[in-house]
């Protein structure tokens, strides 16, 4: 028994993160350094820190081609091509100019996009965003003031019940001007 306990403890040691010089420092410290390099004096943008790692393309970065990410990705520069972050969150920052098809689990849009957008879970279009292209998603949140030209296909989530036609819960969100809409659409749930 005693020896077995020691064996159980041993394999856990290699799984620990690499030793950090300052143990008291927060885990998201490397991300903060990246964010600081892409912040501009005129438009500041600080994406939410994400657990499990994330990558970022700063506002002075231009990419032409295909981007595949296996972690959350923030784009604040120029991208032309395709961007795929399956199972992860893709954030298009306020300075971004994207001419690409986008695929991700969740997509947050603050900048300018020309291309089709496909999110398996949710798309969040902020008021300063400009999107020209078709949307395919399970849920969509769009703030008043956002520019959108294209079509919206709501793919029904497997767990969601069929939305009731003319249901007040679906039909009444964000009716007032300049009020951000926080109610997911088309899933029949708030």
């Amino acid at each position: 028994m005693w020896s077995k306990r020691k064996e159980d403890e041993l394999p856990q040691r290699p799984e620990r993160p690499a030793p950090v010089p300052a143990p008291s420092a927060p885990a998201v410290e490397p991300q903060r350094r990246e964010i600081n390099t892409m912040s501009s004096p005129t438009r500041t943008f600080e994406p939410e820190p994400v657990r499990g790692g994330s990558a970022a393309l700063g506002k002075n970065v231009t990419v032409k081609g295909q981007i595949f990410a296996r972690e959350d990705l923030t784009i604040d520069g120029e991208v032309e091509g395709t961007v795929e972050c399956h199972e992860h969150r893709l954030t298009i920052g306020p300075n971004a100019r994207v001419q690409a098809g986008l695929k991700a689990r969740e997509i947050i849009i603050q900048g300018s996009i020309q291309g089709n957008v496909d999110a398996t879970d949710k798309i969040d279009i902020k008021k300063e965003a400009k999107l020209v292209g078709d949307i395919k998603t399970s849920r969509i949140v769009i703030e008043d003031g956002a520019y959108f030209k294209g079509s919206i296909d709501i793919s029904k989530a497997t767990t969601a019940a069929k939305p009731q036609a003319a249901s007040p819960a679906v039909a009444t969100p964000s009716a007032s001007p300049n009020t951000s809409a926080a109610t997911p659409a088309a899933t029949g749930s708030r």
Partner: protein, 212 residues
């Protein structure tokens, strides 16, 4: 009318004069909703600015929604006084190239709202022609037109769906010169459609359902 005011022009309203949001009961939209409830997976065009309310309502029926902000395109193409700037052929052509760029017979229904009244001839007739082109045979369009002959400038609204009978008119800021329409002029404008249905309203906004 003030002394010295030129005929046909009126001063732009100050921000204090801007209208506030108002609820509107719409029999025309109620009729349009019968189309939405009739079957699933329809293609619907919404010609006001994209909004959560309209997206939620339309997609809640299981339909596909397309958004094309025609008033926004007018402002981009013609400038702030867009009604009076539509006579230049080059800008008119640019507007028509950016608007209603959808395939033929693509939509089962279109929510045009009051956008057409801000278009002047010949752009108006060309826009109606494009609208009818993108509609499927039997498809419905809901359009509002100003019927007040005395109004020289009309506030611009976005239309937000509240429920199957009620709309919220949200001021978009500013006002524009606009045409006024009577039943005869509307029949002439949509002479290529198969039928028109007019709805009586208490205000000066005429509601029309056009069937292709």
């Amino acid at each position: 009318m003030k002394f010295g005011a030129a005929k046909g022009t009126s001063p732009k309203p100050s921000p204090k004069d801007q209208p506030s949001s108002q609820i509107r009961h719409s029999s025309g939209f109620e009729q349009f909703c019968s189309l939405l409830q009739s079957s699933e997976s329809l293609s619907i065009l919404d010609m006001t600015g994209a909004s959560q309310a309209n997206i939620s309502f339309i997609t809640g029926f299981g339909h596909r929604l397309s958004s094309d902000d025609i008033v926004g395109t007018m402002q981009q193409s013609f400038g702030s006084d867009f009604f009076e700037s539509q006579q230049a052929a080059s800008t008119a052509q640019r507007f028509l190239e950016q608007t209603l760029t959808f395939p033929d017979e693509f939509f089962d229904g279109a929510l045009v709202w009051d956008a057409l009244q801000f278009l002047a001839s010949p752009v108006l007739e060309e826009a109606v022609k494009q609208l009818l082109r993108v509609m499927r045979p039997g498809g419905l369009m809901l359009a509002f037109f100003n019927a007040d002959e005395k109004a020289t400038r009309i506030p611009i609204y976005n239309y937000r769906i509240q429920d199957s009978k009620t709309l919220l008119q949200v001021p978009r800021g500013g006002s524009q010169k606009a045409q006024h329409f009577n039943n005869r002029s509307l029949e002439k404008l949509f002479e290529r459609s198969s039928s028109l249905k007019f709805f009586l309203t208490r205000d000066s906004l005429r509601e029309v359902i056009v069937r292709k």
